[in-house]
């Protein structure tokens, strides 16, 4: 980044810590730039306070988190999926958020673009969650396939200064964003605020603000959610997995189908937050069992149980020893448990 950005007129700065990094990308976004930061492990915990600030001020920005094993310093450069629920709940105070979880290097490329787009469109920070396995891997990207003309500008105000409400409640739920310096002199604050951007402690204004913050996401799940179905059509069993575990799962499915004749498929959320609950409920209907393999003690398992435990049996497979889940482990676990 520090090498490439200047060539393109972009800006790179190495801040003193991750708190500062998170703060500065918000500042840059307010100034009208698309901005991002990246970290692994401890850094993401330090960013939490200001992630909440981006949520409440509705400032678009992208946070990349390459997960490592263990809490704290843990297992640097070893794979894990320990930050899935932190991505949802890491900052204090109730809030919505979007988290995207690609599973190949080319998909990282595509989903980074989609993440920025969602972030700008819904004025919300987006976390791009990666696995170390894929974060430290080279894989083929067919750059030709990427639509380079696709561009997304944030929605900016189309009314004169005096009529501009920075946090107006419009039908889309997403107010226009006035970049600083464009003549709309308004106020941005991490306090709960009213449509005019100024702090409020009036229950009805608080309620309206908070509800809109959730509504802008809940009302647009069709656009925000994304997932892959792999060999699910005729399946009796289903694996639910994300990130690199989904690759192991696919490999396992190949073996299970080809060598053992077991009808099994994969449901892979690409958007993990908000969760693909209705898709899961739909797909779970005709399944005998759902397997949830994860490199943690069970995190995607929680929403899966929440939404599908009344539909069918759910079996977690958890591995937290710093290794990836091998396809053969999954094959034998599944064969033992059907």
């Amino acid at each position: 980044m520090s090498v490439e950005l200047p060539k393109l007129g972009g800006k790179f700065i190495q801040m003193e810590d991750e708190i500062g990094s998170m703060a500065s990308i918000i500042g840059a976004s307010i100034g009208g730039l698309k901005s991002m930061t990246a970290t692994s492990g401890p850094g993401i915990s330090l960013m939490q306070e200001n992630i909440g600030y981006a949520v409440i001020t509705e400032t678009p920005c992208l946070i990349v988190n390459v997960q490592r094993g263990g809490p704290s310093t843990g297992l640097p450069t070893m794979p894990s999926q320990g930050d899935i629920l932190q991505a949802r709940w890491g900052t204090h105070g109730d809030h919505p958020i979007i988290t995207i979880y690609p599973h190949t290097v080319p998909e990282i490329f595509e989903e980074t673009i989609r993440s920025v787009e969602l972030s700008e469109k819904y004025r919300i920070p987006v976390i791009l969650l990666l696995d170390e396995v894929i974060g430290h891997m080279r894989e083929k990207i067919d750059i030709e396939k990427v639509d380079k003309n696709k561009s997304f500008k944030r929605k900016t105000p189309d009314v004169p200064n005096e009529w501009f409400f920075p946090y107006e409640r419009n039908s889309s739920g997403v107010p226009a964003f006035a970049d600083f310096g464009e003549g709309y002199r308004y106020h941005i604050t991490g306090l709960v605020h009213d449509v005019d951007g100024f702090p409020t402690s009036k229950p009805d204004q608080i309620d309206a603000f908070m509800k809109r913050m959730f509504r802008k996401i809940d009302d647009n799940l069709d656009d925000i959610l994304d997932w892959e179905e792999y060999e699910l059509e005729d399946s009796e069993y289903m694996i639910l997995a994300a990130g690199c575990v989904a690759r192991s799962a696919k490999q396992a499915i190949r073996t299970l189908r080809d060598e053992h004749g077991i009808k099994i498929g994969l449901l892979r959320p690409k958007t993990i937050w908000p969760f693909i609950s209705s898709v899961l409920i739909d797909k779970a209907q005709d399944k005998k069992k759902i397997f949830v393999p994860e490199m943690n003690m069970g995190q995607l398992l929680l929403p899966t149980q929440r939404f599908a435990s009344s539909i069918c049996d759910i079996l977690p497979f958890n591995k937290i020893n710093g290794e990836a889940i091998y396809p053969h482990e999954l094959v034998s676990f599944i064969r033992r448990n059907i």
Binding site: E139, C244, K250
Partner: protein, 182 residues
């Protein structure tokens, strides 16, 4: 190639260019041969002192699981690397070792190429810097996992300007050395 999925690990000590080697091999397959390839490596402080490794998976189909589990090919340039990694090689896998540094290897492996890479490099090129490229030539010839043409192109694209010729020579030498043993 006759195989859908081919798992290769290059191992040696830090500074022997195993990572660059892996990248070149993967690019030869993915960019120049137009099939699929992934390359991974180990990071972290431990990687600096101990054995260094780089893994490449090549496949004409989609590469699902991106980590190696049963190696088809293992390159070992040091005894330490050999000790650490040899168990991951399939019984019918191909083992390529620097015969000057690597002594005993388990007898179960039959497809072994023993080449004194460093000594040859020193003798032929007066530097050990090309050891990794000679080794790539050897892998190419021993396995056919990438075409020779693709390998040369990939090498040329990655090595520093001005060293392209000598590196291509090194690759050719690796190919020759294996063919002699075949």
């Amino acid at each position: 190639m006759g195989k859908k999925r081919y798992e290769i690990r290059l191992s040696g000590s830090g500074g022997q260019g195993m990572i660059l080697g892996g990248v070149i091999l993967a690019e030869a397959a993915a960019i120049h041969d137009g099939i699929n390839a992934t390359q991974t490596q180990s990071y972290g402080p431990e990687a600096r002192v101990g054995a260094s490794k780089s893994e490449v998976i090549i496949s004409d189909g989609e590469i699902l699981f991106p980590k190696t589990s049963d190696l088809d090919v293992l390159l070992c340039l040091t005894q330490k690397a050999a000790q650490e990694y040899i168990d991951d090689l399939k019984e019918d896998g191909i083992l390529i070792i620097d015969s000057y540094y690597v002594g005993n290897v388990p007898s179960k492996y039959k497809n072994i190429y023993k080449i004194p890479f460093s000594q040859i490099a020193n003798k032929e090129f007066n530097t050990t810097l090309v050891v990794n490229i000679i080794a790539l030539g050897a892998i190419c010839a021993a396995t056919g996992c990438v075409s020779e043409k693709a390998l040369f192109e990939a090498v040329k694209a990655r090595v520093p300007k001005g060293t392209q010729e000598i590196n291509e020579k090194a690759a050719r030498l690796g190919i020759k050395l294996v063919k002699e043993q075949k």
